[in-house]
Amino acid sequence: MKRTASIFLSSLLTGLLVGVTVNADDEEPVLARIIDGETERVPLHTVAPRYPRKARRDRVQGEVQVCFEVDRAGHPRRVAVRYSSNRAFEKPSTKAVRASTFKALGKDDPVPGIKSCRTFIFALEPSEP
């Protein structure tokens, strides 16, 4: 069953990026809406999670917030779920964060001690006829 995710635009949202991201399982690209934040670390490669098959089957939607630190090289560290509406979405979300990267810092730049958080919203919408 082909999995699809659509791009949807909104001019109301600031810092909106729409991109084709690589799926955490490296199967097929997933289209996801990416809303950039104003964190100190610049996302370099954002990986979208796969919609869990059983959740899709059972028409379950949800949201997960994952918080993490980013090391000097730009790799997420200490990845943890801060909030989730359904456990089914947690693993794909943490996996996607771990596979994502941020712009590396220069050797003299201080590493910010503040955690970054990323929210994944898994939604299902009626297909276009």
């Binding site: 069953m1 990416i34 809303i35 934040g37 059983k54 955690k115 929210t119």
Partner: protein
């Protein structure tokens, strides 16, 4: 294509489980009592639908008692659906359910038959009835998923939002 394959895989599992479960009940029999029925179920499980149906039909000829006959019809329902002969499959599912209206696997299989025949309301009713009998069945959940994909298809929308760094619950400010 993938949709059809997953549909068939589900039916196969349902069919073979019927056989396995029923075999457990006959504690005095060592090995299958009806070899054609047994081999037919295994052939269906392996995806050899033509061979599976042929062996099961043979097994049906020599079926002893209602138990074996029911297994044969149940597996034939699955087998004929694999062969995309939904009308024939329906007859076999109906046979089982006439005899045993509590046979949830036949509701599972018949729901798929109805889905193939585009008789959506009847498919939904069978899923509902099957889930009443076995609410935890993953197979019925799979069939319901197929049914929903057919009647209410959805697209996945994934949003990645990096803006929300504030705590989800407001932190109390000290007075």
């Amino acid at each position: 294509m993938c949709r059809v394959l997953s549909l068939l895989a589900m039916i196969l599992l349902a069919a073979v489980q019927v056989f396995a479960d029923e075999e457990i009940q006959s504690k005095t029999v060592i090995g299958p009592s009806n070899i054609d029925l047994y081999d037919g179920a295994n052939a269906l499980l392996a995806g050899n639908s033509e061979e599976g149906v042929a062996l099961t039909l043979k097994g049906l000829e020599f079926a002893h008692g209602q138990r074996e006959t029911k297994i044969a019809h149940s597996n034939l329902c699955a087998g004929f659906l694999m062969l995309r002969q939904a009308e024939t499959a329906l007859q076999h599912c109906n046979w089982v359910l006439d005899i045993d209206p509590y046979h949830w696997r036949s509701y599972n299989n018949r729901a798929l038959v109805y889905l193939q025949l585009e008789r959506h309301e009847e498919s939904e009713a069978d899923i509902k009835r099957g889930q009443e009998l076995n609410p935890r069945s993953e197979k019925l959940k799979e069939v319901k998923g197929l049914y929903l994909d057919e009647v209410e298809p959805v697209d996945e929308k994934i949003t990645i939002d990096d803006r929300r760094n504030e705590p989800l619950t407001p932190v109390e400010k000290p007075e």
